[in-house]
Symmetry: C2
Subunit: 169 residues, 2 copies
Amino acid sequence: MEKGYIQVYTGNGKGKSTAAFGLAMRAVGAGLKVIIIQFLKGQKYSEHSSFKKLGIEYELYGTKEFIIGEPSEEVKELARNGLKRALKAFEEGYDVVILDEVNVSVYMKVFSVEEVMEVIKSKPDNVELILTGRYAPQEFIEIADLVTEMKEVKHYYQKGIQARRGIEM
Amino acid sequence: MEKGYIQVYTGNGKGKSTAAFGLAMRAVGAGLKVIIIQFLKGQKYSEHSSFKKLGIEYELYGTKEFIIGEPSEEVKELARNGLKRALKAFEEGYDVVILDEVNVSVYMKVFSVEEVMEVIKSKPDNVELILTGRYAPQEFIEIADLVTEMKEVKHYYQKGIQARRGIEM
């Protein structure tokens, strides 16, 4: 790719990760090389088999359990490996690097803003970097070229519906 | 699928169609049957080859040219065929039906709110219906179970950058 930018998808509404996945799908369709680095998520999601079929690289740097309170050293170590993977991906010629749930990971103190900012600042000029997750820190918003806030206007979860396979997971 | 809902992705920010595409990708990964009916768009997009690879059905009901002012009879006819296609898809056992750019199509008077509302109201209970595009009419928002507004916080287009293959198209 000639020129890559920094995109942030944040907010409390549905569609942040899926927007990044849709972008990944478009990018590989154009012959671009894409990697999705997923933080917090350690479990199997329905989209993973589609990633494989399309040749979208994806790696999980989260545990299967939800994090409650202060994250454990194990969780932090795992997540930091994800950041290192991003740095490596920059050298490996990926056109699009997606750091899924990186924003909320900072919020949950899995790693610091500064640690992620170092990665962001190492982005080669021809790489598109996508950061997803609610609670994007102000630093990310300031450095980004494109920021979309997914705002929840209405959500059926408010009616108490469980996550459905193929739609939410 | 056991129970399907109505989702709306609207707003002036980037990520509405891609969120729907990411959802499509997740759905087929779970073995669900998906169709994307695209309004206004008649041209080739990079994601189309990925749709094919994943077995996501997609059909275009738009012209290659952008619509300026009052849409022609040809444009209206084509778009109405898209709505008819949706009704047929409801009978054909699709689990997820995506009406891409249907919101803005109403805004551009390609068809009326009422014509689309008829389709929405015909949705079988086990079908997930996704409506994308800016300027979602109030009627769609009211009938929907989930509404996300993609709000543009910052956009590099404001700096005058052209659409890039694999990222915007």
